[in-house]
Each structure stands twice: as structure tokens, then as C-alpha cells.
């Protein structure tokens, strides 16, 4: 049986097809890599020795050993924590498995001398929206007026049009369906009569017109992609119009 001792470890999921683009390029370049998919762990024999540290295991077709002597980098395509772990319909075994495997992959931070893209610890902080804004402002970016609140002042200091969004991505289960809350444009006066006390929101000055730009930074290289519809930016949440947009 072949044994893989990778220089590049990829933590992903079989259905995360974006990772296929990366593994394709690595394979073309004859790189030493191993893609471990979280949804396949249950089919593998897998062991983590946190003291050496080492991960070793067997699949049906090959064995692997991940060790600091060989490992250069980890590409971490996984959630830092599961936001929907206790959704209805999950069996006890599945709940336990999801929870514990999520912790297993976080435990890979024992490989602390390799290049992480991105380290879960860094991602944890980066997912905190108020922290994103705090750092953006600190770095000199223009930032919209923002408050995290569960109340609306009678007079708006942010203008008449406001942005309301969740403090953290919210995935809700509603009658066997799933719900997601996108960014909303709202008139200040319409918010005054709404109930906000049961959960904090991000209330923000609306930037209109705007163009969303998604930026990926790898080392010193910056990849910036604007998101437009009919050649112009979208004032609403672009994720609701995916079929009609161009990157």
C-alpha cells in the first residue's frame, strides 16, 4: 500500500469543489500533498499524537503520515466552529461525530511551525465583524459608521437609509427548511416600530452607490475581485443575485 507523507496538507470536504482547483494544480506540479476530507474521516483509521506531533492513518487505498519534518503548509478549508450543529434531525451519533471531528481538525494547530492558510485561531478573530471593522479603521481604511445594538435611536445620526445585518452569519431551521439572513437596506423610520431587543444587530451607515470587492491576500500577493451586475455595483446583498452577476 502506498504511503503519503505530505508537504502540503489540505483539510476540506469532498463537496467543497473549489478545493479541486487547488489539488488539480498541485497534481499538475507534482507537489507532495494530501487532501483529507472531513466527511471521509469516518471511513479512515486516523490517529493524532499531539506530543510528537503526528497524524497517521489508513484509507482503503493508501496510508499517510503527517509529520513536522515533512510538512510545509496547511490549507484549512473548514469551519472554525459549526453554527448548525444541533439542527433537528441529527441523530445522537451524528451530533457527537460532527462536534468531535470539528475539534479534531482544530487540534491540527499542534503543527504550529508550518504556513497556515489560514490558521483557525486567526480565522476565529477574522470572522468577528466588529473586529474586522476595528482593524480596517486602524489600518487606515474608510469605514462606515457602525454600531452593534438592540435598540434604535429616535434620531438617526447615520442618515435616513440604514444597513441592518446579523452580527454573525445566521442559519435558521424553520419548518424543515433552512433560512439565511442577508444584509438589508432599511429606512430609519421603518425600524422604529420593529422589535430588536431579543438579538443584537449591526446597524450601519448605508454606502450608496457601492461596489463590493472581495480580496484574497496570499503572502504579499493581493487578488481583488469586484462584483458587478450589468457593469455596475449592487447596492443590495450581491449574494441574492448570484445568477446575474459578474466577478
Amino acid at each position: 500500500m502506498d504511503k503519503i507523507c505530505p508537504e502540503i496538507l489540505i483539510i476540506s470536504d469532498r463537496h467543497d469543489y473549489s478545493t479541486d482547483h487547488v489539488t488539480f494544480q498541485l497534481n499538475e506540479g507534482h507537489a507532495s500533498y494530501l487532501r483529507l476530507n472531513r466527511d471521509q474521516f469516518v471511513n479512515f483509521d486516523i490517529n493524532l499524537d499531539p506530543l510528537k506531533p503526528r497524524v497517521y492513518g489508513n484509507t482503503q487505498n493508501f496510508s499517510f503520515e503527517i509529520m513536522p519534518e515533512n510538512l510545509h503548509s496547511i490549507y484549512f478549508r473548514a469551519p472554525i466552529y459549526l453554527r448548525d450543529n444541533y439542527q433537528p434531525g441529527l441523530g445522537i451519533d451524528e451530533q457527537l461525530g460532527r462536534n468531535q471531528w470539528a475539534s479534531f481538525i482544530r487540534s491540527l494547530v499542534v503543527f504550529d511551525d508550518v504556513l497556515w492558510v489560514n490558521n483557525p485561531q486567526a480565522t476565529y478573530k477574522a470572522e468577528i465583524k466588529p473586529y474586522q471593522l476595528y482593524i480596517a479603521k486602524k489600518l487606515g481604511f474608510n469605514t462606515p459608521k457602525t454600531v452593534v445594538t438592540n435598540t434604535i435611536p429616535l434620531e438617526s445620526t447615520f442618515g435616513k437609509k440604514l444597513i441592518v445585518k446579523t452580527l454573525d452569519p445566521a442559519i435558521l431551521t424553520i419548518n424543515n427548511k433552512e433560512g439565511f439572513i442577508y444584509t438589508n437596506f432599511v429606512d430609519h423610520k421603518d425600524l422604529l416600530e420593529k422589535q430588536l431587543s431579543s438579538a443584537p444587530i449591526i446597524l450601519q451607515e448605508a454606502l450608496i452607490p457601492k461596489i463590493d470587492i472581495r480580496v484574497t491576500v496570499v503572502g504579499d500577493i493581493v487578488f481583488a475581485v469586484s462584483i458587478k451586475k450589468n457593469g455596475e455595483g449592487l447596492n443590495g446583498d450581491w449574494r441574492l443575485e448570484k445568477e446575474d452577476i459578474k466577478y
Binding site: 470536504d13 488539480f24 500533498y33 476530507n37 493508501f62 472554525i80 424553520i174 427548511k177 433560512g179
Partner: protein, 81 residues
């Protein structure tokens, strides 16, 4: 990808403002792409008899995967959950 989009009305007048704004869709069951196999060693989905790399295939019959437009919107970093 969203199957069905329904803008939800709140279940009660006491619902939080954002509950009214929840966009509801059918739960998307993750299914393997048609006529495809996953190669554990390569870490790649392969499609068809010729085992083309799924995300690189230009064949019009090949399922489209691996673009931002195909992403399931589950937050910043769920990645397949």
C-alpha cells in the same frame, strides 16, 4: 445553490426584525455529482468514462461545480457543512 426562495413573514408580531427578513430555501442535500467518482489519492472528482477532472471539463454534459456561483450560502466559512 438556492432551490426555492421565499421571503418569510414573521411568525408573530413579536418576532425580531431580522426574523421577518429571513430568506428561506429548501435544505440542500449534498449529493455526489452525476457520473462522477472521487479519487481519494488525487483529491479530485473525476467525471465520465474518460475520468476527466470534473472542475476542468469543458464537456457540456459535465455537472458544473467549483465556482462561487455554485456555493451554498451558509455563512463565512462553513465550507460544505
Amino acid at each position: 445553490m438556492l432551490n426555492v426562495l421565499i421571503i418569510k413573514g414573521g411568525e408573530s408580531v413579536n418576532d425580531h426584525f431580522l426574523v421577518d427578513k429571513t430568506v428561506i430555501y429548501e435544505k440542500n442535500e449534498l449529493k455526489d455529482p452525476n457520473n462522477s467518482t472521487y479519487d481519494d489519492k488525487l483529491g479530485l472528482w473525476l467525471w465520465g468514462l474518460n475520468k476527466d477532472v470534473l472542475v476542468k471539463s469543458n464537456n457540456s454534459d459535465c455537472p458544473k461545480r467549483g465556482t462561487k456561483k455554485c456555493d451554498i450560502e451558509t455563512g463565512e466559512d462553513q465550507k460544505g457543512e
